[in-house]
């Protein structure tokens, strides 16, 4: 294992200390239990937005805490859901009297821990709503699975709902908006290489030099198929066709196209992918009116990308354009 770390057990703590030191103007970090909170929390009268998940997906979620996005993030161990006591502390820290929205990615552990946290918060008379993001079309959504995983749409939901909360919308309204984003967003990812969880010390899965995994999850969970490496244009088609068919996205739709890096893929390749995606959608009469290109929901050092499409309307576009000031996303402020 070659990593820029001191001790495997200290990775999460030391990275959080670094985040706190680098962005003291945006966030404060509380340890044991670990919570990243917006520097000016709680904002009185504003709905608080809390998300969380395993570490190793940076900048998600800690890098999205700040004006116009999350009020708090709960970082778990690497690729491991955070715990209810973290979520409860985060919920209490951001409750400005208007209630708190939990944005939860659909993984068994995350869902169960957030459920326990919501129960605990209810016991302390804090109004909590939870919205589960499940946008990964690689997973069959059936009674016989844990359901679709939450991936790229989570980033978009956090940005858009953060803007709505800043406008002073109610908890019910922000939750409804979050469900709307989830309903209109679809994603799929792929991996060129595996990744190494520091505490495990070896690759999560093995992938041959000439192979790629289509439909990979953000923790290295296997996807739809393992196939021979192909040119980027073909990969974009393999990822985007199922996304387009699933919603479905149709001719005339305006979309936000999000090309996400898994952590180990350089921007030059992500822009190349964006170029192929732009062509693919253009041929189908789907117009990209907003975009996001870069590593925003990563899987440690995994090479690969994911594509997320979000169908936009005027409301979603306006909220996407609203000011945001976080370590990971920042514009118009």
């Amino acid at each position: 294992m070659k990593k820029l770390i001191n001790k495997p057990d200290d990775v999460v703590t030391e990275a959080l200390q670094g985040l706190a030191a680098a962005h003291a103007d945006l966030v404060r970090v509380q340890f044991n239990p670990n919570v990243i909170v917006r520097a000016d929390a709680p904002v009185q009268g504003k709905v608080g937005l809390v998300s969380g998940g395993g570490s190793g997906h940076e900048p998600m979620h800690g890098g999205f805490v700040g004006l116009g996005m999350l009020d708090a993030a709960c970082p778990g161990e690497v690729f491991t859901s955070p715990t209810p006591d973290q979520m409860l502390d985060a919920t209490k820290a951001v409750n400005g009297g208007a209630g708190v929205l939990h944005i939860v990615k659909n993984y068994t552990g995350d869902v169960m821990n957030f459920e326990m946290a919501a129960d605990l918060a209810g016991g302390e008379n804090i109004e909590v709503e939870a919205v589960v993001i499940d946008d990964d079309v690689a997973v069959q959504d059936s009674l016989y699975t844990a359901g679709r995983r939450g991936v790229g749409t989570t980033v978009l939901a956090e940005k858009i709902c953060g803007a709505a909360a800043e406008e002073g919308r109610s908890l019910a309204e922000v939750a409804e908006l979050c469900r709307k984003v989830n309903a209109n967003g679809r994603s799929m990812g792929m991996a060129l290489t595996s990744c190494i969880v520091p505490a495990a010390g070896k690759p999560t899965f093995e992938l041959g030099d000439d192979e790629m995994e289509i439909g990979i999850g953000i923790h290295g969970e296997p996807g739809r198929e393992r196939v021979k490496l192909a040119p980027a244009g073909e990969i974009v088609e393999r990822l985007t066709a199922p996304i387009v068919e699933d919603l479905p996205f149709e001719q005339g739709d305006q979309v936000l196209a999000f090309v996400n890096g898994m952590g180990g893929t350089p921007l030059i390749e992500l822009y190349l992918v964006y170029n192929d995606l732009n062509r693919f959608l253009g041929e189908r009469g789907i117009t990209i009116t907003r975009n996001l290109v870069g590593p925003y929901i990563t899987s440690l050092e995994m090479a690969g990308c994911s594509i997320t499409l979000l169908r936009l309307d005027d409301e979603l576009t306006r909220l996407w354009d609203a000011p945001v000031k976080t370590a990971g996303l920042r514009w118009a402020t």
């Binding site: 239990p33 715990t83 009674l143 495990a200 999560t204 296997p222």
Partner: protein, 229 residues
Amino acid sequence: MVDVAETEKASGRMSLGHDDVLRWIRAFAAEVEANKEQLTQLDSAIGDGDHGINMQRGMSAVLVKVDATGEESDIGALLKTVGMTLVSTVGGAGGPLYGTLFMQMGMAVSGKEELSSDDWAAALEAAVTGVQARGKAEPGDKTMIDALIPGRDALKAALAEGATFEDALRQSADAADQGMRDTVPLVARKGRASYLGERSAGHQDPGATSSHLLLEAAAETWGRPGQAR
């Protein structure tokens, strides 16, 4: 009830005190430590490869916690402490599930300073019910409860037939062992393993494996060791 206690005394087994329960918890922690690599390997095959690491971190925290609480005699309080510690240290799905298991056990024997074999059966019953409610899994979904339910049922059946507590614990652990092995051909329908669909068949479930360790630790701590395999 006096008769049961007398019978158990006659068979060399008193009811369980606080120290006995603590010995079981330590034995489970030791089993988790010893099997950390195996649990992680099983989880890498069909999950996300952190079950051994997470359980080991949680049980280490439990040992620190119970060592710090000092003189205590309430077994229910001890089990609740174990559960709360696991919830706040394990994370993943294992945290809420094992946390719920111990917290429900603790609530079932709340305030008790001694457990009879029937108390243990009631605690295990509450634990399994709690895990099922939290995880919403059915038997055959390839989860913890595929080891826990056979373990619970074998214990109840053995006690009902008048077996000694040692024998009942051994039968419970062996049934959990069989249940764990029986998860191999199953297709996972819960948790991350469910993303694999048919590809999850052929692998033993890591949660069922750690749950077997829990009941095996009880049999070995309070009863007699299993056959060498």
